[in-house]
């Protein structure tokens, strides 16, 4: 029986990859464990091994092909005497669009990225040259630029140097800046966070990368008790200029211990600044501001957003100030306010609502401490309705706080109660269908908007 060899998913969030190199050729006999090909993902280059034995009947995707979708057939394996061509025509592009029931490789549950419709109020002048960049590249560039600008800035974390970053965000930094300034640490979050805080007291400007923010829970005492509170406790003498950054929130199919949004936790702490960017230009401009800030900054990234591309201004020194929301889309009927990956649902909902004649204004808070209350209130006073969107847990969420703030400051303007769309009040399940249910969805945002607009 001839079988198709499918493009594998080599990481939880991989949607496509480059087939870098075939290690076998047509006619070769392979047995299980033999390396068939080298596949490049956005994170790493990996070897892809044969599971079954057989003969490589036909290679369907040539070496060097980019953007090969997960589950696309890349070769046909045949048995002695079989004809591969016959099989190809017999099974035409069967797995081109993977079906949900498909057994093997993981289909990431990443939400589709809606294309932003309008970008209002960008933080750069009209006519600025733009280039397309992923969030990942934008973050790397921000660090490289700031490390070039200031010798006291260094990067520390697990796998940031020789491995080039667990999520490839620090790619190339070791080569550019050397091991003194790009420091691989042991797996010791509590300890290295304390060391970094001490070095900030001692005059350096550390960037601490947490492999993901889930692991920062081991270090939260140093973040809050040491980094955030010392300026106050020292009567203003001893500041802590430090950035804690890394992926935060749900990735895909990594279940409860690796899928949590910490926005609300950190946003509660006086002494911290909290940033959660959505697009690449904000990721870059806000990270540069974070590194220059004399205070501890929590910089919450998102693994699913790392690979998304956006326009980024081509400027020598592009920074985005904290405490200034961005209006992505103007509207009159309802204000949808979100941040980070929540923006994908907010913007997608706004697109669909527009088709139904509902005009939504979409606000990206960008920073959660400080929060741009003025922009939020201004919008709610205009639309008289508000829906908040975030991936985090519902109890004591950012949305809860925004609702209370709006109620206290714009009660008379509200034509409906504010609705918070959040992740569900459950640990993140592993099963694909349950995971989907646990996350906030575009449909929920649309339903909430219809509820507050009484449609």
């Amino acid at each position: 029986m001839a079988t198709e060899v499918l493009m594998p998913a080599l990481s939880p969030t991989m949607e496509e990859g480059t087939l870098a190199k075939w290690m076998v050729k047509e006619g070769d006999t392979v047995s299980s464990g033999d390396i068939l090909a080298e596949i490049e993902t956005d994170k790493a280059t990996m070897e892809f091994e044969a599971v079954d034995e057989g003969i490589i009947g036909k290679i369907l995707v040539a070496a060097g092909s980019e953007g090969v979708k997960v589950n696309t057939p890349i070769a046909i394996m045949v048995e002695e005497g079989e004809d591969a061509d016959a099989v190809v025509t017999a099974a035409p592009v069967a797995a081109e669009t993977p079906v949900a029931e498909a057994p093997a490789p993981v289909v990431p549950a990443a939400p589709a990225a809606p294309v932003a419709s309008v970008t209002l109020e960008p933080d750069y002048p009209d006519g600025t040259e733009l280039k397309t960049q992923t969030v990942r590249e934008a973050l790397r560039d921000a660090m490289a630029e700031e490390m070039t600008r200031d010798e006291s800035v260094y990067l520390m974390g697990e796998e940031v140097a020789e491995y080039q970053g667990a999520y490839k965000v620090s790619q190339g930094l070791l080569d550019q800046f050397g091991a003194k300034r790009v420091v691989d640490t042991p797996i010791t979050e509590h300890g290295f966070t304390g060391v970094a805080v001490g070095s900030a007291f001692g005059g350096l400007r550390p960037i601490v990368e947490f492999m993901t923010f889930n692991f920062a829970m081991q270090a939260i005492d140093q973040i809050i008790n040491s980094a955030a509170k010392t300026l106050y406790m020292s009567g203003g003498q001893m500041g802590c200029p430090i950035v804690f950054r890394g992926p935060n929130g749900a990735a895909a199919r990594v279940a409860a211990q690796h899928s949590q949004d910490y926005a609300a936790w950190y946003a509660q702490i006086p002494g911290l600044k909290v940033v959660q960017p959505y697009c690449a230009s904000d990721a870059k401009g806000l990270l540069k501001s974070a590194i220059r800030d004399p205070n501890p900054v929590i910089f919450l990234e998102n693994e699913i957003l790392y690979g998304r591309s956006f326009d980024v201004p081509v400027l020598d020194d592009y920074t985005v100030p904290f405490g200034k929301a961005r209006i992505w889309r103007e509207g009159t009927d309802v204000t949808i306010v979100s941040f980070g990956i929540g923006m994908t649902y907010a913007l997608e909902a706004a697109d669909k609502l527009a088709e139904e004649g509902i005009s939504a204004e979409v606000i990206d808070l960008r920073t959660l401490r400080p929060i741009d209350y003025d922009t939020l209130l201004g919008s709610v006073m205009k639309t008289n309705r508000c829906v908040t969107v975030e991936e985090g847990f519902p109890v004591a969420s950012i949305g809860n706080h925004l609702s209370a703030y709006i109620m206290e400051n714009a009660f008379d303007y509200l034509d409906a109660p504010v609705i918070n769309c959040t992740g569900k009040d459950v640990p993140m399940p592993y099963a694909a269908n349950l995971e989907k249910l646990a996350l906030v969805t575009t449909d929920e945002v649309i339903a909430a908007v219809k509820q507050v607009t009484y449609r």
Binding site: G194, G202, Q222, M233, G235, P294
Partner: protein, 331 residues
């Protein structure tokens, strides 16, 4: 590489002995005064006195050079006085006044002085240990030849972050001296009841960090050990551990039922091992000073402490606007 105990005594001059005597006495009288002010309700909250342990910090500081850093726990008054911080500013912080080192916003456990390279004053047991290594990380990065004294207790020695820090400090050859102030108790828990292996100075061996135990009731022994540790760190050989065996005479903090040890145990230490008394005897038997001269020093120190106490009472409480300042540094 060996972990070992030393009690070697160096030759010592009259001037040196007198300066240790002064420094230790200042700490003791200051702490006695703080205890008094606490009793009068002028100091609130937690207040951890250093009485009995004076020789530790004074001996260690004797080997420090300008620019060297220090960081410790909440039992920090002695460390601040020993590195030259103003007793007035320290006492006024204890009373929560504007004239305190943290403008009254830190209190007994949280004080800092950039000028004197004193990095706190930390209320979370063990948290200062990686911070101390981080200060050393910065010094190594800046190539400034400084070392950091990182003090922690026998109780703190059981925190996981201490060993995370030992590993990194050894891995990166950080110029940090880990000073374990083993006063035999963590609140009411004796070291025997909390610690599987009693020799804390040996705990660096697994990481390749040399360590030694020192008699912390003997300021000269502490000083000698400190010189050795400092030389080791400053020469770029990485961290060093000193376990200084000491004893606190007072309770853990001001409200301590003291049911975990006998009165006799405390009394015996005070009578037989007191570090200040030992130096006093050296001064007298070596004919370096007369009773009268020492009395004059006692009086001088009493005056300094009284002045600090007066200042701490007269300094006003912080202005109410201070509630909202120093939360963020201006970007």
């Amino acid at each position: 590489m060996a972990a070992r105990r030393t009690t070697k005594k160096p030759n010592v001059s009259k001037e040196e002995l007198l300066s240790y005597y002064r420094d230790m006495l200042l700490i003791r009288r200051f702490e006695e005064k703080a205890g008094q002010l606490y009793g009068m309700g002028l100091i609130g909250g937690f207040c951890h006195l250093y009485i009995g342990q004076e020789a530790v910090v004074v001996g260690l500081e004797a080997a420090a050079e300008e620019g060297d850093k220090r960081v410790t726990s909440y039992r920090d008054h002695g460390h601040m006085l020993a590195c030259g911080m103003d007793p007035k500013g320290v006492m006024a912080e204890l009373t929560g006044r504007e004239g305190g080192y943290s403008k009254g916003k830190g209190g007994s456990m949280h004080m800092f002085s950039k000028e004197k390279h004193f990095y706190g004053g930390h209320g979370i047991v063990g948290a200062q240990v990686p911070i101390g290594a981080g200060l050393a990380f910065a010094d190594k990065y800046l190539e400034n030849g400084r070392v950091t004294f990182t003090y922690f207790g026998d109780g703190a020695a059981n925190q996981g972050q201490v060993y995370e820090t030992f590993n990194m400090a050894a891995l990166w050859d950080l110029p940090v001296i880990f000073v374990v102030e083993n006063n035999q108790y963590a609140m009411g828990t004796s070291q025997q009841r909390s610690t599987s292996s009693q020799e804390i100075y040996e705990r660096g061996l697994a990481f390749g960090i040399p360590g030694e135990a020192v008699d912390g009731m003997d300021v000269l022994a502490v000083k000698a050990a400190s010189e050795k540790a400092v030389a080791h760190c400053r020469s770029g050989k990485g961290p060093y551990i000193l376990e200084v065996k000491t004893y606190r005479y007072r309770g853990h903090s001001m409200s301590d039922p003291a049911k975990y040890r006998t009165r006799e145990e405390v009394q015996k230490m005070r009578e037989e091992r007191d570090a200040i008394e030992a130096v006093r005897q050296l001064l007298l038997t070596g004919k370096h000073a007369t009773e009268d001269e020492l009395k004059a020093i006692d009086k001088e120190i009493k005056d300094v402490v009284n002045e600090a106490a007066d200042f701490s009472k007269e300094s006003p409480e912080p202005a109410l606007e201070e509630l909202w300042t120093d939360i963020y540094a201006d970007a």
